[in-house]
Symmetry: C2
Subunit: 203 residues, 2 copies
């Protein structure tokens, strides 16, 4: 298998790297230079027509894209230390938490990055008022996440899971683009410190 | 189990209904009147803190939210006629296709609805220029989907799956809000006719 990715701060390749580190899977990453537009070349788009990373390429050339789908596939091959749950209910709770983090938090973070950040202003047509409006959405959702953590250590319950990886990479990327966690979110801050202290967070 | 939903054109409850119809699962839906804001009441938000439907409530009161997570849970209970794949690779391909449809198509459709549609203008603060810009994105992604269908009958390959349900409900909702499929997309039109002709599409 070959894994195509990019270094931090790109949040999606980091999600796969943290997943691999937590599972103890050794799968080196082939860097795709996004600054040079390597992910938009015809060669790379032959692997992923959307021109996105990460991409997992199997030995027969079959390609799997989408961060969570790549990790889900690797979980099936390497079931030890499950990160997507084992019982149907546990799996459902982790899946729903990943989705909530992606749709409620990752989407407005991405919209702020896409439409309000000076870096992307050089590359894209921005709708800056809309982009800026996502700052308030992100604050509101981080506050909601803080409430969701009441009585539980991790995002989807009391076991570390893919949902924590999704939340950590999104919150760290958000901070990097200027969307820092609002003050007073004690549960979310405590969670963030705990998951950041894991060896895997260095990935 | 209890399923909370809403009638068409709400696309997410319809996704669950089509899934249930395909699997032959009899699970009546308890309607939540969104026009009356029933999904935002404290009683309903005690079930789903995001105030969204659909919601699946188990007999012990445990709640599962998020359309795809609900369907994934039901797939584990009722594995016959699999709609999320069986082998790890098939499951990964279906999962990645669902995600591509959701992030690439459902998100801009939702942004158009949220920011450019007259109906939501009465309810929400809109960024209309941004909202309108999603029309072009939706056209581009429908064209991309048409290309992806080259050599395959369904969204994730040659087997009908949850990815087809995600695409059908999104494309039908898009049409309802004025984002009709661009002309000349023969593969996507043929696919749409085929999946719409299934009994389950009446759900």
């Amino acid at each position: 298998m070959k894994l195509y990715g990019a270094p931090n701060p790109a949040p999606n390749p980091r999600r796969v790297r943290i997943f691999l580190a937590e599972k103890g899977i050794d799968l080196p990453e082939i860097p795709v230079n996004m600054m040079k537009g390597e992910h938009k070349t015809p060669e790379f788009k032959a692997k992923n027509s959307l021109g996105q990373i990460p991409v997992l390429e199997l030995d027969d050339g079959t390609v799997i894209t989408e961060t969570v789908s790549i990790c889900r596939y690797l979980e099936a091959l390497y079931p030890d230390k499950p990160l997507f749950g084992t019982s149907p209910l546990e799996a459902a709770k982790i899946d729903m938490t990943i989705r909530r983090i992606e749709f409620q938090l990752m989407t407005p973070v991405g919209m702020f990055w896409r439409h309000a950040h000076p870096y992307t202003a050089k590359l894209l047509t921005q709708f800056q008022d809309f982009g800026d409006s996502n700052r308030e959405t992100v604050n509101r959702i981080m506050t909601w996440l803080d409430n969701e953590l009441e009585g539980q250590d991790f995002m989807a319950g009391n076991v570390y899971s893919m949902a924590d990886i999704a939340a950590l990479t999104t919150i760290d990327f958000a901070a990097w683009i200027g969307l820092t966690m609002p003050g007073g979110l004690e549960r979310l801050s405590r969670w963030h410190a705990a998951v950041s202290a894991r060896q895997s967070a260095l990935a």
